[in-house]
């Protein structure tokens, strides 16, 4: 088997293991400790932040403006609207600034 296929298949196995593993471990406990639950409740915001913050520190002014406008838009609108506003600002400014 060539290296690419080997990496893809093992990558898939490990990824599925991660997706099913958290449940298999936690479902062994009848009651979830409140601190574990508090931690689990924080998971989405914590993880998703790590996908935004480093990108934001690398961003130029155009990207920063798009991000801030999108963030403000999210206070008022739903996900789709917020995303389209952010994308429009980003693409619009890049046509001008380059």
């Amino acid at each position: 088997m060539n290296t690419i296929l080997w990496v893809i298949l093992w990558g898939a196995v490990f990824t599925y293991a991660a997706r099913v593993g958290g449940h298999l471990v936690l479902s062994r406990f009848d009651k979830i400790h409140p601190r574990v639950e508090a931690g689990l409740n924080a998971v989405p915001a914590a993880v998703l932040t790590t996908l935004v913050a480093p990108a934001a520190t690398q961003a130029g002014p155009v990207e920063m403006i798009a991000l801030v406008v999108a963030g403000l838009a999210s206070l008022r609108f739903g996900m789709m609207t917020m995303f389209l506003i952010g994308a429009a600002v980003l693409i619009g400014l890049r046509q001008v600034v380059g």
Binding site: G11, T15, G21, A38, V47, P54, S74, G86, L90, R94
Partner: protein
Amino acid sequence: MSAGSISEGAPGSEVWRGVKAGLPVVVASAPFGLLFGALAVDNGFTPFEAFLMSASIYGGASQMVGLELFGAKIAPWLIVLSIFAVNFRHVLYSGAVGRRIRHWPPLQQAVGFFFLVDPQYAESEVKGARGEKISFAWYMSMALPIYVCWIAEAWIGGTFGNLIPDPHALGIDFLLPIYFLGLVMDFRDRPFWLPVVATSAIASVIAYKTVGSPWHVTIGAAAGILLAAAMPLDGKRDNPS
């Protein structure tokens, strides 16, 4: 609309709700699906291998990291390890969503966990936090359109990759952070949201600049989660969402 009609949920409306929840994801991920296919072929993949990677791993960020490392000629097992590191957050998703789908038969659970990508997790949490039941029909109706488009895009991007005239002008490199920011904001009603986000932001930036990618995801997330777990338990307990 009464609460009863929501939690009972006729199968048809559950399907429609699921499709609707997935639609923004289909649109937002399309550029990345295509871009992945194009980059994969750039890195020596065949269009079929690009398709296979999207179909079997099904995790955009980890696929991109995998490609990046292929280009860097790193030992194969290290690439697998990096893919796992990027997707390790799914352990946490699995634990959280697993609580909400205990009523599914085991086989449905086994299938469902395969599709547990970031937006699938986020939408399931949002729905669960509203007190609605996560049905298999809703979950798969959200997951399948995203999945089918994602793997089709890998193949299309791999086959017609060089047709994107100017990715920079189209903002493709920065659409993902905007999308993820939207998801972060979706969770702003959670207890300790601001301290968690601030901690994870600072920790991930420091890790990104010192340890490097992809570990900033694991390290940054761990910092925020530990902070939330260490916070005083009293006071906010009666508001579990």
